[in-house]
C-alpha cells in the first residue's frame, strides 16, 4: 500500500481528448508518483514506476474537467472542497465510520489557475488550456491561495504543500500565513527527493507493517515518531497499557535506519522490571570471560544493540540502582563488562516506554535519567478509545489471526451488530484487550460463519478489576499509604506536583467522568470536615449537632449565602453520591432534601458528568 496524495491544479488534472495526458505522465515520472486518479488519462499511461513514493490523485480544480476549444473554464472552489472532504471524512475514521482507506496523506496545491475561454491558440499550447484572464497569474489573484485558505480552515490537520513553477519568493509570506507547510518547485531537479522528505516529515502515513489503523490520532503519533528519528537521539514512548508501545518502537527502528545502511541493524528489547539490583550489570553490560574461574563470556544487551536500538519497556519499574548505572552509560556512551576494567564504546539509541507518570512518580524516577531518555522527544500513542474507527480493521486482522492459530476453524464474517458492540466499549485495556476478546470469541465458537455480538465477552468486571488493580498498585507503591499517613501536607504536595500539560490531554480526555467523580468525592470529604467543624455542641449532645448553613458557608467562603441556597447546594452536591453517603453526610443530605423537597434532584451519573 502507498500513501495517497491529492494534487490540485489546472494543468495535470485535466482530461484531454484521446485520454493520454503526457504532461501528467511526465510529472508522475519526475516525482515518482503512481497515478491513481482512475480516469482515462491514468489508464492510458504507458510508463511503470518501479518504486513509487506515493499514489497521486489528480483533480482539476476547475469546470469543466475536460475542456475543448470554445469552452469557458472557471475555478471551482466547492468542487475541490467536496473532493478533499471525500478523501478525508469518509476515510480514516474522521467520520466515525469504518475505515476503508487512509485519509489524504498530503495535498499538493498549484498556485496559478488560468480561466476564461479555450481558444485555438491556447489549446495548441496545452490541450484544454484557457487563454487566461487578467490577474490569474498575479500573486494577488492566485486561486491556489484561496483554495489553501478554504481547505486549511476546514481541515487544519491536513498537510498542504504548494507545488508550483511560480516564484517562491513572491508568495512565501502568504502561503505560510495561510497554513501551507512548504513550497516545492515543480521543476526542482531533486523533486522526488524533496517530496519524499516532505511526506516523511509532514504526511499522514499509516504503518503498513506493525501498528494497524488509519485514524488521525494514530497517524499523528506515527508522524511524531518519524520526526523524532531525524536525529539518532534517545526517545521516550508513552501511552496506556496495551496500546502497542513496542510496535511503535519497532516502527521508529525501521524508520530511523541510517541513510545508505544496507544491513539490518539490531533491535534488542527488554522489560525493565526484570532487572534485579544484583544481576542487572551482567545483563546490561555483559561478563568478561575468566579462564581461572571458568566464567564464560556473556554479551550484554548494550553490546547486542550496538549500532542499533535498545528498547527498554516499562521503564518506570526499573530499580533505582539500575537507573544510576544506566545514567552513566547514557552520559558516557561506554560500558564496562563485569570482571573487566576496560570500557567499550557503544553506539546505541535507547527507546524507552512507559504508561506511568514518571515526572510525578512518588516512588521516584531520576529526573536526570528521564532527561537522558528523551533528548529526541516524547511520542504519545493514543488509547484505543480515541481511535475507535480503527476497531473494524483491528478486529478483521485479529479474527484472521485467531482463525489461523486455531486450525480448522471456519472463516467468518463479522456482523454489523458485533462491530457496533465492539465500537461501543471504551477498551481500558486497549488493543491487547480487544485482541483477547476477539480470540476468545473465535476459540469458543470455532464452527460458525459469523462472529455475532453474542459471541463477545467484553468489559465483564474489567472496570472493577482495573480500579482495584490500580488501587492495589498504588498502595504497593506507597502512594496511598503516604497520603493517608501524612494527611493534608502530602495531598497538597501531590496536587502541586500534578501537571496537566498538553502531553496529558490524550490521557485525560476519555477519563473526564472518572476525574470529575473523584473530584466530587474530594469535595464531599471537605464538606464532611466543614460539618464537623461547625457542629453545635451542648452538654446534652457532646458529639455535636450538624448545621448545614454554617458548614456550607465555611466550605464555599460565601458568607452571604442564605440557608435555602446552602441546602440546595448541599443537595445538589451530595445527590450525585447518594448511594454511598454515610454518617454526617447522609444526615446532612436527608435534612437538605427534607428542607428543599421541590428543587430538582439530579441523578448521580448526570451530576458526575455534567454538574461538578
Amino acid at each position: 500500500m502507498l500513501a495517497r496524495i491529492l494534487l490540485l491544479d489546472d494543468l495535470f488534472g485535466r482530461n484531454v481528448p484521446g485520454g493520454r495526458n503526457a504532461d501528467r505522465e511526465n510529472l508522475c515520472a519526475h516525482f515518482l508518483l503512481k497515478d491513481a486518479t482512475g480516469d482515462a488519462a491514468a489508464k492510458a499511461s504507458r510508463q511503470r514506476i518501479l518504486k513509487p513514493i506515493a499514489e497521486v490523485v489528480f483533480y482539476r480544480a476547475q469546470t469543466p474537467t475536460s475542456a475543448e476549444i470554445g469552452s469557458t473554464v472557471e475555478n471551482d472552489l466547492q468542487g475541490v472542497l467536496e473532493v478533499v472532504r471525500r478523501g478525508w471524512y469518509k476515510a480514516a475514521g474522521n467520520s466515525g465510520q469504518a475505515v476503508v482507506w487512509p485519509p489524504w496523506a498530503m495535498v499538493l496545491l498549484d498556485l496559478c489557475f488560468y480561466t476564461g475561454r479555450v481558444t485555438e491558440e491556447s489549446h495548441r499550447r496545452a490541450p484544454g488550456m484557457p487563454e487566461g484572464r487578467p490577474g490569474d497569474d498575479q500573486p494577488g489573484g492566485y486561486f491556489g491561495l484561496m483554495l489553501l485558505d478554504a481547505i486549511h480552515r476546514e481541515i487544519p490537520e491536513l498537510p498542504i504543500f504548494i507545488l508550483s513553477s511560480k516564484s517562491r519568493e513572491e508568495v512565501s509570506l502568504e502561503f505560510s500565513r495561510r497554513g501551507a507547510l512548504g513550497f516545492i518547485a515543480r521543476d526542482d531537479l531533486r523533486g522526488s527527493e524533496i517530496l519524499e522528505e516532505a511526506l516523511g516529515q509532514h504526511g499522514l502515513l499509516p504503518d503498513y507493517e506493525g501498528l494497524i489503523g488509519n485514524s488521525l490520532p494514530l497517524l499523528i503519533g506515527l508522524r511524531e515518531a518519524r520526526r523524532a528519528t531525524r536525529h539518532r537521539e534517545n526517545l521516550l514512548i508513552r501511552g496506556e497499557r496495551g496500546t502497542g508501545k513496542e510496535l511503535l518502537a519497532r516502527y521508529v527502528h525501521r524508520m530511523g535506519r541510517r541513510v545508505g545502511e544496507t544491513e539490518e541493524s539490531p533491535f534488542v528489547t527488554v522489560n525493565s522490571a526484570v532487572f534485579s539490583p544484583t544481576l542487572f550489570a551482567s545483563e546490561l553490560f555483559g561478563i568478561e570471560p575468566r579462564t581461572a574461574t571458568g566464567v564464560d563470556a556473556k554479551v550484554g544487551l548494550f553490546e547486542m544493540a550496538h549500532r542499533g536500538d535498545l528498547f527498554l519497556d516499562e521503564i518506570a519499574d526499573m530499580p533505582l540502582e539500575v537507573q544510576a548505572s544506566l545514567l552513566r552509560v547514557l552520559q558516557e556512551r561506554q560500558i564496562t563488562r563485569v570482571g573487566s576494567r576496560d570500557p567499550r564504546n557503544v553506539d546505541v539509541r535507547v527507546l524507552s516506554a512507559t504508561n506511568a507518570d514518571l515526572e510525578n512518580q512518588v516512588r521516584g524516577f531520576r529526573s536526570d535519567l528521564l532527561d537522558r531518555l528523551r533528548p529526541g522527544g516524547t511520542v504519545w500513542l493514543p488509547p484505543l478509545r480515541e481511535r475507535q474507527s480503527d476497531i473494524p480493521l483491528l478486529v478483521e486482522r485479529f479474527v484472521r489471526e485467531a482463525e489461523t492459530q486455531r486450525k480448522g476453524s471456519l472463516r467468518r464474517d463479522i456482523t454489523p451488530e458485533a462491530f457496533e458492540t465492539l465500537c461501543g466499549y471504551d477498551w481500558p485495556g486497549n488493543i491487547r484487550e480487544l485482541r483477547g476478546a476477539v480470540f476468545d470469541a473465535v476459540n469458543r465458537f470455532p464452527d460458525v460463519e459469523y462472529l455475532v455480538a453474542e459471541h463477545l465477552r467484553i468489559g465483564e468486571g474489567k472496570r472493577d478489576v482495573v480500579v482495584a488493580e490500580s488501587r492495589e498498585a498504588k498502595i504497593a507503591a506507597g502512594q496511598l499509604a503516604k497520603i493517608e499517613e501524612t494527611g493534608l501536607g502530602a495531598l497538597l504536595s501531590q496536587l502541586a506536583g500534578t501537571s496537566f500539560d498538553a502531553h496529558h490531554v490524550g490521557e485525560w480526555a476519555g477519563r473526564l467522568a472518572e476525574l470529575q467523580y473523584e473530584h466530587l468525592r474530594l469535595v464531599a470529604r471537605m464538606l464532611q470536615a466543614a460539618l464537623e467543624a461547625t457542629k453545635r455542641r451542648t452538654p446534652e449532645k457532646p458529639e455535636g449537632i450538624i448545621q448545614i448553613h454554617p458548614a456550607v458557608k465555611l466550605l464555599t467562603g460565601d458568607s452571604a449565602l442564605s440557608a435555602s441556597q446552602a441546602a440546595d447546594l448541599l443537595k445538589r452536591l451530595l445527590g450525585a453520591l447518594e448511594d454511598e453517603l454515610e454518617g454526617d453526610l447522609r444526615a446532612a443530605y436527608e435534612t437538605a432534601v427534607r428542607l428543599r423537597p421541590k428543587s430538582a434532584s439530579i441523578s448521580a451519573r448526570k451530576a458526575a458528568t455534567t454538574e461538578v
Binding site: A126, D137, Q138, S165, L189
Partner: protein
C-alpha cells in the same frame, strides 16, 4: 500586464518549467532505471522543441529593452502627445537612467551567458543522444542530460529576474 511579461510567462512558466524541464526530469528517471516505458522513442526529448525554445528565449531577452524600458511609454498615450522636440531627447535620457539604475546591461549579459551555456549543453546532450537507439549508452547520456537540465534551470531563473512591469527611473 505588458505583452512582454505575458510572453515571458508563457515561455518560462508554461513551456519551460511546466513542459520541457518536467519532461527532461522524467526521461532522466528512465535513464536511471526508476521507470519502465513501453516505447523509449515516446519519451526521448525532442531536439526541435528545445532548439525552438532557446531561440524564442534569446529573442525574448533581446526585445526586453525595447518593450520594457520607460522609453516605450513615449509610443503610447499620453506621452506620445509630447512635442517633437522633447521626444528627441527625453525618451533616450530616461532610457539611459533606467539602464543604469536597474543594471539592465548586467541583467542582459548574465542571461546571454546562460543562453550560450544552455546551447552548449543542448548540443552536447543531443550529440550523445544522436546515436541509433539500439546503441544508446544510458550512463553516457546521463551526464550531459544532467548538465542540460541544470543549465535550463539556471536560464529559467535568469529570465525570472527580469521585471514584469515598466520600472520608473
Amino acid at each position: 500586464m505588458r505583452a512582454w511579461a505575458v510572453w515571458r510567462g508563457r515561455l518560462n512558466h508554461d513551456r519551460l518549467r511546466n513542459g520541457l524541464l518536467i519532461r527532461l526530469a522524467g526521461f532522466r528517471k528512465v535513464l536511471e532505471g526508476q521507470i519502465e516505458v513501453q516505447d523509449l522513442d515516446e519519451v526521448l526529448p525532442s531536439q526541435d522543441e528545445s532548439t525552438v525554445l532557446l531561440t524564442e528565449i534569446a529573442y525574448l531577452v533581446q526585445k526586453f529593452p525595447d518593450e520594457m524600458s520607460p522609453r516605450a511609454l513615449f509610443e503610447e498615450a499620453p506621452l506620445c502627445h509630447c512635442d517633437d522636440l522633447v521626444r528627441v531627447w527625453l525618451p533616450q535620457a530616461i532610457h539611459s537612467v533606467w539602464m543604469e539604475k536597474f543594471q539592465i546591461a548586467k541583467l542582459l549579459s548574465d542571461t546571454e551567458i546562460a543562453i550560450r551555456d544552455t546551447r552548449q549543453a543542448h548540443e552536447d546532450f543531443f550529440d550523445e543522444l544522436g546515436v541509433p537507439p539500439g546503441q544508446l549508452r544510458f550512463p553516457a547520456v546521463l551526464r550531459p542530460l544532467v548538465t542540460f537540465q541544470q543549465q535550463f534551470s539556471i536560464l529559467s531563473a535568469a529570465i525570472s529576474r527580469f521585471p514584469d512591469r515598466i520600472l520608473p527611473p
